[in-house]
């Protein structure tokens, strides 16, 4: 028997309806600060990837002759073809900043990957199973949250410095793991909170009623609904990671010379601050720019992805 129900004759509906992402993007590009932030972030990313090809000199090349001609003092900005000058060993500061960008961006994204890798499963497990599992996981989370971050990272770095693990990738691997280990807590809490409210939604029950497995309900139905806040948290978490890495570099832990983390550069410059302040000023500007641009971009993303939250967080 044919369906007798009237078929609604829909008027042509091909003014391509906007998807969530398109919608969010159009809100994002109306936010000027976010766009400025986004452009700087993109620039930093380009520098991170192509820095060695764009830099005027290799980051570790010492120009001893030039140094000698200037009384063994760091060259100032613009002197002898060094746009931002050199450091006390005659290495081009601009090239070293590019290498710093590479380190900072790697830290930024790999640390966030570690954060997602630990935080999302922990938060999702806690929210989905609830009860005792939730209790245990959240207490572990609380303990990690209560760690003094920097102290823990320093301890970890010191403990593993001489091992293969500590030496891998010029000491970067250790930094990723250390910062990630203390950083996933916020993500776990965020995911748990999101999923706790999402799992009460009727579409979860509907998914169960057609026999979707628990794992697929979480991964296909729940997490995509929380993707907006997660993107925002990742973006806003990056400045913290960059800052942590710079701090470690400044303290002489983590990335080892001749690699040029921005923190390392500031540390190098601090000895020469009175004579050659440019050695501190330029890395400081780089750090500030990176932090601000990620923050602006993150704020913009938050407003764009969740307009209800605008100005509240």
């Amino acid at each position: 028997m044919a369906t007798r129900t009237a078929t609604i004759d829909a008027a042509p509906l091909r003014t391509r309806p906007t998807s969530l992402w398109r919608d969010a993007f159009s809100r994002l590009i109306r936010n000027r600060l976010a766009i400025v932030g986004g452009i700087i972030v993109l620039t930093l990313l380009v520098l991170a990837v192509f820095g060695p090809y764009l830099a005027p000199y290799p980051y570790d090349q010492q120009n001893i002759d030039q140094l000698a001609r200037h009384g063994n003092l760091p060259l100032g900005p613009g002197v002898e073809g060094h746009l931002l000058g050199t450091d006390a060993l005659g290495r081009d500061l601009l090239s070293r900043l590019f290498d710093g960008a590479r380190i900072s961006m790697t830290v930024a994204f790999v640390v966030q990957a570690v954060v997602l890798l630990i935080g999302v499963p922990v938060g999702a497990l806690a929210a989905w199973f609830g009860g005792r599992i939730d209790q245990y996981l959240m207490r572990i989370t609380d303990v990690v949250y209560a760690f003094p971050d920097l102290l823990f990272i320093i301890l970890l770095s010191v403990a593993f410095r001489e091992t293969f693990f500590g030496q891998a990738l010029d000491g970067l691997l250790l930094i990723f793991v250390a910062i990630g280990i203390v950083g996933w807590v916020g993500m776990a809490r965020l995911v748990r909170g999101q999923l706790l409210s999402l799992k009460e939604q009727e579409f979860v029950e509907a998914a169960r009623a057609i026999g979707v497995s628990d794992f697929k309900i979480v991964t296909r139905h729940l997490l995509p609904n929380a993707i907006g806040p997660m993107i925002v948290a990742v973006t806003l978490g990056i400045p913290g990671a960059i800052l942590a890495e710079a701090t470690l570099g400044f303290l002489g832990i983590g990335v080892q010379r001749p690699r040029a983390s921005w923190g390392v550069l500031i540390n190098d410059g601090s000895l020469w601050m009175r004579v050659s302040p440019h050695m501190v000023i330029f890395p400081a500007i780089a750090i500030a720019l990176a932090l601000l641009s990620f923050t602006f971009l993150g704020d913009g993303l938050r407003d764009a992805l969740d307009p209800k939250l605008k100005g509240k967080q």
Partner: protein
């Protein structure tokens, strides 16, 4: 619904043993295997038998007896109405059938559910999951919140077929198109990639129906499928459910508080009150000779088109009882206009009335009761 259809259906479906995952009934071998399995297993006489089902919610204020000792059965292809006011246990009954009562705090504490010869209560969680969606479809009350806002509807319809029939992405998409056309959504293929917010409420309920029917289930549980929709759309959706259930020979349990809907859709009706079935019978019997004062009240409170304008709607005075620690009395007795002392002491059993299959839980209308024969 014809008898032969039902019999075919019953013999086609393997009753106890499942087909191996990788065998499709669509192939010749698969069909043979299915028939062998069906022959090997005893035929179930009825699609669904529920015996003494009790579902309780354990709250801090006490145990809520949401569904209390409910028994009923359902034939292949039959449409059964569960009617009653809010909180009487209709939805919990339906959720219990597919073991989706939220736990904690809810739990099925006792009872037997035999679905197509399968003892549902004895299935493992994994077996239960494979039963849901494949043989029992569920339509929820609110189509606005029952679809996942972040997934295209094509995916959501195909999901069930992908899980239960193990078909390819492509075949599942084709199935989704077929279903969408069946439920009356124009240009189905173009709309597979659309998201729920691009559909109206009525369209979304059509999508929900398509999802529920994706694997051609034997039983469709429709939990107030039209409550969230306006009246004109209501009629369309109900007509759709009816015509599709007739076309596919699907049995339907229709949960509603709207007696008009029940009268128009169902073969039989269970009237529920305070977690119990208080009257059950063929739809005509119940509407023409209701045997329980609560059913009179429900029928009396329907607005009528031939009534004089300006008359107030009749209501049933009082509130339904607290389902924490119900007493031994008839649960409707506090609100009943015909109450006797006996009602306040002992709750009556469901007992037979004049028409076959018509039973009610009332002292007054039992043979020899003080209202027997008056209605």
């Amino acid at each position: 619904m014809t008898l032969t259809d039902d019999q075919n259906r019953a013999s086609e479906e393997p009753v106890v043993t499942e087909l191996p995952e990788n065998v499709s009934i669509a192939t010749e071998e698969g069909r043979k295997l299915a028939e062998q399995l069906a022959d090997a297993a005893p035929h179930a006489k009825r699609l669904l038998e529920v015996r003494n089902l009790s579902t309780q919610f354990f709250t801090k204020d006490g145990t809520v007896h949401a569904v209390d000792d409910v028994s009923f059965e359902l034939d292949y292809g039959e449409t059964l109405g569960l009617v009653g006011e809010s909180g009487c246990g209709k939805s919990v009954t339906a959720l219990s059938l597919v073991r989706l009562v939220p736990y904690p705090p809810g739990r099925i504490v006792s009872g037997e559910i035999i679905f197509d010869g399968i003892d549902v209560m004895k299935l493992s969680n994994e077996e239960m999951r494979l039963l849901r969606g494949k043989k029992i479809g569920f339509i929820f009350q609110d189509p606005l919140t029952s679809l996942n806002p972040t997934l295209p509807i094509g995916f959501q319809i195909a999901e069930s077929a992908r899980i239960h029939l193990g078909v390819s992405r492509k075949a599942a998409a084709d199935r989704a198109v077929e279903l969408l056309s069946k439920v009356g959504i124009p240009r189905a293929r173009e709309r597979l990639g659309d998201y729920p917010h691009q559909f109206s409420g009525g369209m979304r309920q059509r999508v929900m129906i398509a999802i529920a029917l994706a694997c051609d289930p034997m039983l469709l549980l429709a939990d107030e499928p039209t409550t969230a929709l306006d009246v004109t759309i209501q009629a369309q959706i109900l007509e759709l459910i009816r015509s599709l259930s007739e076309e596919f020979g699907t049995a339907v349990i229709l949960i509603t508080h709207d007696l008009g809907i029940a009268a128009g859709m169902c073969h039989r009706v269970n009237v529920m009150y305070a977690g119990r079935i208080v009257e059950t019978g063929k739809v005509d019997d119940i509407f023409e000779h209701p045997q329980m004062p609560y059913a009179w009240g429900l029928l009396g409170s329907l607005p009528r088109i031939d009534e004089e304008r300006g008359t107030r709607l009749r209501t049933i005075e009082g509130m339904p009882p607290d389902l924490i620690n119900p007493g031994p009395e008839c649960r409707f007795s506090p609100r009943c206009a015909y109450v006797h002392d006996k009602c306040r002491e002992v709750e009556p059993e469901l007992s037979s009335r004049a028409e076959p299959g018509h039973r009610a839980r009332c002292w007054a209308t039992e043979p020899g009761g003080w209202l027997n024969g008056s209605q």
